[in-house]
Symmetry: C2
Subunit: 236 residues, 2 copies
């Protein structure tokens, strides 16, 4: 029996563990810190604009976010923010980097159900040091045959990852929470993708789901992945 | 004829292209910026101490360095530094991230002399986004069979890189400028290492060279690598 799937890859942030929730928590602290200067809406808009400008130079991750918060704080206060406030922003960033890794519900059972039957991969985007630290703290590292931290989730980068692990895209399923990063580039290569939405999506990640594509599935929960896999491989 | 060497790996920063020189340049601007507040010596000492404390949470790279400069500026001024000064520090960091990649002399000829005859690898440590950007801008990416960005250069990490590329450590030569990162962990695995010193070394990278080890060579210039390789493989 030839199986359809050979390798199943999971995204990390907001797929296996909470991430955007931590950014929201930090941003909430940031709003409170600057509440005397600026409304939450105005601050959010300024921060998003700053992040959008800075992503080409900082990439993704908490350090770049911290630098963007500092830049935004200076701008919204017309250069009147005091050093103590900046110091607080630095500490918010460190708190987020040091925050415990919290697995999402159902993650461990899902990984356990698939381990040994498929090549399991973790393909995560962002700051290498922070991602490696989260992977280590997640306790999941040993369950994955391949772990790749990439700086951007584009078709060429997925292609390189699959090639160097000798995986046929037609036998590859990606599971993640981002249409832009986990779904569209994988479908473009001829792979399959399952979206497991997280309740928060960073605005720079928002994209239209390809609902008509027959290699795309929207799940409600990660624990539905083994069932999808079984159905694809004809034993479900 | 069985050759001694199969794969030759190069470090990136300060081995293939200038890096520590850019940190020095930024730090010089930082000293000038705070010259009214603190002596260069005192500022350098404070910054180094801050970096030492922060490396466990930020890892290596320009973003962490920028955050450490901001933290140091607040501390040495007892919280009296103004926002414009912080803004300048942010811009120093961005300038460094955007700085053109300058190859060191002899790098291209050295890589050309070895390409096609050995598996060539680039193993570089630091911030993934910044390193990938530098690799792309270096124009060297196509010359390497394997490119690995790692968050730390420790024996276990080298072991993992060699294993997943099916390289026997006994047939592996690492070329780099850091005794701590490029030499000691590779010798520990049973590999060989050639040190090509750069004129500047970050204090957190300083280590004692293993001059008695027979798998270790100190070269004066990267252009001596092909000669060393030929000697090791008995055709020089």
């Amino acid at each position: 029996v030839t199986r359809v799937l050979d390798a199943i890859a999971f995204d990390g942030d907001d797929t296996l563990w909470h991430n955007e929730g931590l950014f929201s928590m930090t941003q909430e602290r940031f709003r409170a810190l600057l509440a005397d200067w600026v409304s939450p809406e105005e601050l959010d808009a300024r921060l998003l604009e700053t992040e959008r400008e800075n992503v080409a130079v900082y990439g993704y991750g908490v350090k770049g976010f911290t630098l963007s918060m500092i830049e935004s704080a200076i701008e919204v206060t017309n250069g009147n923010v005091d050093a103590d406030t900046i110091y607080r922003i630095l500490s918010f960033g460190k708190d987020q980097l040091r925050h415990p890794v919290e697995l999402l519900p159902g993650v461990e059972a899902t990984i356990d159900a698939l381990a040994g039957r498929y090549r399991l991969m973790l393909i995560t985007k962002g700051d290498l040091f922070d991602q490696e630290s989260k992977i280590a703290r997640s306790g999941l590292a040993d369950h994955f045959d391949v772990i790749e931290v990439v700086h951007e989730k584009e078709p060429d980068i997925y292609r390189r990852v699959l090639r160097r692990n000798t995986i046929d895209p037609a036998q590859f399923l990606m599971v993640g929470n981002s249409v832009r990063s986990d779904v569209l580039p994988v479908l473009e290569l001829g792979g399959r993708a399952a979206l497991v939405p997280y309740h928060l999506t960073w605005e720079l990640e928002v994209a239209e789901p390809p609902r008509e594509h027959d290699g795309y599935w929207e799940l409600e929960h990660i624990s539905q992945v083994p069932e999808l896999v079984a159905r694809l491989d004809g034993d479900g």
